[in-house]
């Protein structure tokens, strides 16, 4: 009942060009804050605030065996945990489908943009490669976790230094960080465009997320080319609508790029 009423109310507001919190349709909440190095134990970490949405990301590094079909490449492994800490609707236990989707959408943005050269994570071909284990933990969920998480992951990677690795003893000394940084050649920015009624908005709050018809997350690089897309939500879209959403994402990514 509540959600139906809320949907009608929000649709009416959006038609008049206003949001529940007074924002315009295509405005992000401001300011977007990025903190680097928020966890001393992580090899790299960052925390992104989009007003009340607060996401922490840490990168741990391990040395492991490469996949047999990619013997000279390291890799990234992105996980997300939606704990009841951040939202009372989240539950304890193994990652549910929302957490899995979040992690995979963010993973794809980084992987497919080729932001990282996985070959540079190789220590010894076929035997030893670096694995970058990236974990996304929302601290407070007030909507738009995907965009906030993608931004935080990028920031955490920029923050990361490799720990000291002794090739003879094959041990990592986590206490000693080297000067070696993770080389990021590109910076993919994820923008989620949401459709409610006939209106497109960005950066939804949790209240707006309750009544979403469709969302499309689009990751773009600096030159405006696209590197990952994920559609969510129950309603289908026309290709014209999709192209409009792509335009919005390219435009908004420019803004987000500046906060890093």
């Amino acid at each position: 009942m509540y959600e139906e009423g809320l949907h009608n109310h929000i649709v009416k507001l959006l038609k008049a060009g206003v949001r529940l919190d007074g924002r315009k349709l295509l405005d992000y909440r401001k300011p977007i804050k990025v903190e680097y190095g928020v966890s001393k134990t992580a090899e790299g970490s960052a925390r992104v605030h989009i007003e009340n949405t607060d996401v922490m990301v840490g990168v741990k590094m391990e040395v492991g065996e490469p996949y047999p079909d990619m013997p000279d490449q390291g890799t990234i492994i992105v996980g997300a945990e939606l704990t009841p800490l951040a939202n009372p609707n989240f539950e304890l236990g193994p990652p549910g489908i929302d957490a899995i989707e979040l992690a995979r959408v963010v993973d794809r943005g980084i992987r497919e943009s080729k932001a990282l050269d996985f070959k540079k994570l190789c220590i010894k071909k076929g035997e030893k490669v670096w694995l970058l284990l990236i974990d996304i933990i929302p601290i407070n969920d007030d909507g738009n976790l995907i965009d906030a998480s993608a931004l935080a992951v990028l920031a955490a990677l920029k923050d990361a230094n490799f720990p000291k690795y002794d090739e003879k003893t094959e041990k990592i000394d986590y206490k000693e960080k080297t000067d070696k940084k993770v080389e990021l050649t590109k910076e993919p920015i994820a923008v989620t465009v949401v459709k409610i009624g006939d209106s497109f908005i960005v950066d939804p709050t949790t209240e707006e997320e309750k009544v979403i018809d469709t969302r499309v997350t689009i990751s773009t690089k600096k030159d405006g080319s696209l590197c990952a897309i994920q559609k969510g939500g129950d309603m289908p879209l026309t290709s014209d609508e999709i192209m409009q959403m792509v335009d919005i994402a390219i435009e908004k990514a420019k803004e987000l790029r500046e906060v890093l």
Binding site: K231, G233, D234
Partner: protein
């Protein structure tokens, strides 16, 4: 330009050979298989049926539950570990989202429509083949539907725009590649599944969406023909 000719000699806008059939699992309320090249999807529909545990029930409408699963021997590389992975869970989710728009779930309060999708063998394009099979199986189950759902992956290898990428094309090295699975509701031309990974420009995406819609119209004809074939045959007997 490196990619002048497709590995298997197909035209750039040509799909692999498609074969579709409904009613292939007699025990199920509805079933179908959909083969495209070496990718082979089976779908079985059970329901609408009572949903347990009861706290999952929705008194206002039924729910659709899809499960995508690769048989352990169906991957081109190592054995696929049974029991589901993060990948299969995500694909199950997007499959549900692709199919929901054509169903009238308001008709089945407190109930569930279960769709099980299994693959005996795959060579890329499995989520699209699974969606094609599932939508036929839903129709075969006699559920009220607003449309069928047809799905195909489009994409690019180097500067060529392609339809129905196979595994070798998806994994093509040293040139830009993009893979875009798309599901279309053929009667309204609306898109209910859209994912992409790879590298692509806005203009290319626009062209590929049109290409996907065109191809899905052809797939739609194959799906309809398969559905009709079941009943035409039964009439003769």
């Amino acid at each position: 330009m490196v990619y002048k000719k497709r590995i298997d000699d197909r035209g750039f806008e040509e799909t692999r050979k498609i074969e579709a059939k409904v009613g292939v699992i007699p025990r199920a309320d509805g079933s179908a298989y959909f083969k495209i090249g070496d990718t082979w999807a089976y779908a079985a529909v059970y329901g609408p049926r009572n949903l347990y545990p009861r706290f999952l029930q929705n008194p206002k409408k039924g729910i659709l539950r899809c499960n995508y699963n690769m048989m352990p021997f169906s991957g081109s590389g190592e054995r696929v570990r049974p029991g589901g992975s993060r990948r299969s869970k995500e694909i199950s989710l997007v499959t549900e989202k692709a199919l929901i728009p054509v169903l009238n779930l308001d008709e089945y309060p407190n109930s569930v429509v279960d769709v099980f999708i299994e693959f005996p063998q795959t060579n890329a394009g499995s989520r699209c083949a699974g969606i094609c099979a599932a939508s036929m199986a839903l129709a075969d189950a006699g559920l009220e539907m607003k449309d069928l759902v047809a799905a195909i992956s489009v994409g690019r290898v180097d500067d060529k725009l392609l339809v129905d990428l196979d595994y070798a094309e998806e994994a093509y090295e040293d040139v830009p590649v993009a893979d875009i699975p798309v599901a279309v509701l053929p009667n309204s031309d609306k898109i209910s599944l859209l994912q992409m990974d790879g590298e692509i420009s806005k203009d290319e995406l626009k062209k590929l969406l049109e290409l996907a819609k065109k191809t899905c119209k052809d797939i739609y004809e194959i799906q309809k023909k398969a559905l009709k074939a079941k009943y035409v045959k039964e009439k003769v007997e």
